[in-house]
């Protein structure tokens, strides 16, 4: 049977992708950011997941104002890195796992999570920057990836509780797939940031560190935090953090914190990163 073994959470700032693509990772500005990802780069080589279920959001790239799905699952065999307006990132094409994605779709919809099915989609920095941070610059991504896009652009996004509950249903879905697969669930986006208006540049280290703390072993409490707290305290774009709760919901109640990292700034944003393993596996 397929098994969820671990979760990874990380910010997905586009400037981090640009720093990798342009060979700037050793520059004094960027060096502390990438140092925070040295652990996960080693760890992933030992873990060797077969599939990553990657929760991210599209940033007005694949979805324009005509279609805005709240939860959308990528069921295609492959997804091309998107041209976001300055040429596509020089990263490999993302290979999906259509049979597992179809199985998850069936299971989640029957569990009352009404997903949108995507059979053709380009993926933007929200998905490719986390892959670059963890796998580095590679010819091929070393595993299959199921993109799962959450609307956080048009307010309101799904609630933290809804995301957390979806994570729990996702675990049931994945772990009822008959093939032996080592599956990880990743949650991306955040941490505090605001990219717009006179308040742009807001960073809330207290909010972020509390979030990093509570998502490990008080996630059911954290899931109850309402939207207004995110947008007020973590910035209008900080609400991306609800996506981390899908990852957390998909893991055991008891997890082992393998790595925690926090750094300000990357461009306009606070960078947060966690590696969690299911306990007792």
């Amino acid at each position: 049977m397929a098994k969820i073994t671990a979760g990874v959470a990380t910010s997905h700032v586009p400037a981090i992708g640009a720093a990798i693509d342009l060979g700037k990772t050793e520059q004094p500005y960027w060096q502390p950011v990438f140092k925070g990802y040295e652990y996960v780069k080693q760890w992933i080589k030992e873990q060797k997941p077969d599939v990553i279920f990657l929760v991210y959001n599209d940033h007005a790239t694949a979805f324009d104002m005509n279609f805005i799905p709240t939860f959308a699952i990528g069921c295609a065999p492959e997804f091309k890195p998107a041209d976001e307006g300055w040429g596509a990132r020089p990263v490999p094409t993302v290979k999906g796992h259509p049979p597992l994605a179809a199985h998850i779709t069936q299971s989640l919809i029957q569990d009352n999570f009404d997903l949108t099915v995507i059979n053709k989609m380009d993926v933007d920095h929200g998905l490719t920057v986390p892959l670059s941070l963890v796998f580095g610059q590679v010819e091929e991504w070393p595993c299959l990836i199921i993109p799962f896009a959450v609307n956080v652009v048009l307010y309101p996004p799904p609630s933290g509780q809804r995301c957390y509950d979806l994570g729990k249903a996702l675990r049931k879905a994945i772990e009822s797939f008959p093939e032996d697969l080592n599956v990880q669930v990743w949650g991306t986006g955040g941490m505090s940031h605001q990219l717009q208006g006179p308040r742009a540049g807001l960073i809330n280290q207290a909010f972020d560190n509390d979030f990093l703390e509570r998502i490990v072993d008080k996630a059911d409490e954290l899931a109850q935090v309402p939207h207004i707290n995110y947008v007020r305290e973590a910035g209008s774009e900080g609400i991306e953090l609800v996506m981390w709760l899908i990852m957390r919901g998909a893991l055991n109640d008891d997890v082992e914190l393998k790595h925690r990292f926090y750094h300000v700034p990357a461009s306009n944003t606070a960078v947060g990163h966690l590696v969690l393993e299911n306990k007792g596996d």
Binding site: P14, A15, H59, A60, T61, D64, M65, N66, D83, E84, G85, W86, V153, L154, Y155, P156, S192, Q194, L195, Q196, G197, P198, R199, A200, G201, L202, I203, N204, Q205, A206, F207, I228, V231, R232, E233, G235, S236, E237, V264, P265, S267, N268, A270
Partner: protein, 130 residues
């Protein structure tokens, strides 16, 4: 209409369905700039390209002025508007700085110093920015 729960967050426009309705054509214009051929058309004659879209005159003026706060007050969303400043070759940080009234250098330094602090910036009545 009753007040939205986020009406008292200072310096922030929440892109909700009412704003999305107002900004539909503005945002669709902006996202069209992801295509190189549209960027070329826009750069060659901004006004003529804008006139191909069912935007209000005020929305067009806001785009021509590159006034991002103005565009957002008319329903623009920052991820869509990003296609405009990318077309201009500007980074997210430069564009964000332009919305704050700070110079790019002041803004960049604020971020290096840990970003805009939450103190005084969470509720309108206590606002003093910086």
């Amino acid at each position: 209409m009753s007040k939205k729960p986020y009406h008292d967050i200072p310096g922030t426009t929440i892109f909700d369905p009412a704003m999305a309705l107002m900004g539909y054509h503005l945002n669709q214009f902006a996202i069209s700039l992801m295509k190189a051929e549209n960027r070329d058309k826009f750069k060659a004659n901004e006004r003529a390209y804008l006139d191909e879209w069912e935007m209000s005159e005020e929305q067009k003026q806001a785009v021509l002025a590159r006034d991002y706060n103005w565009m957002m007050s008319l329903g623009g969303n920052v991820y869509f508007l990003a296609k405009i400043f990318s077309t201009d070759g500007l980074s997210f940080q430069v564009a964000a700085a332009s919305m704050t009234g700070m110079t790019q250098e002041e803004y960049a330094q604020m971020m290096l110093d840990g970003g805009r602090k939450p103190e005084g910036n969470l509720y309108k009545q206590e606002q003093h920015n910086g």
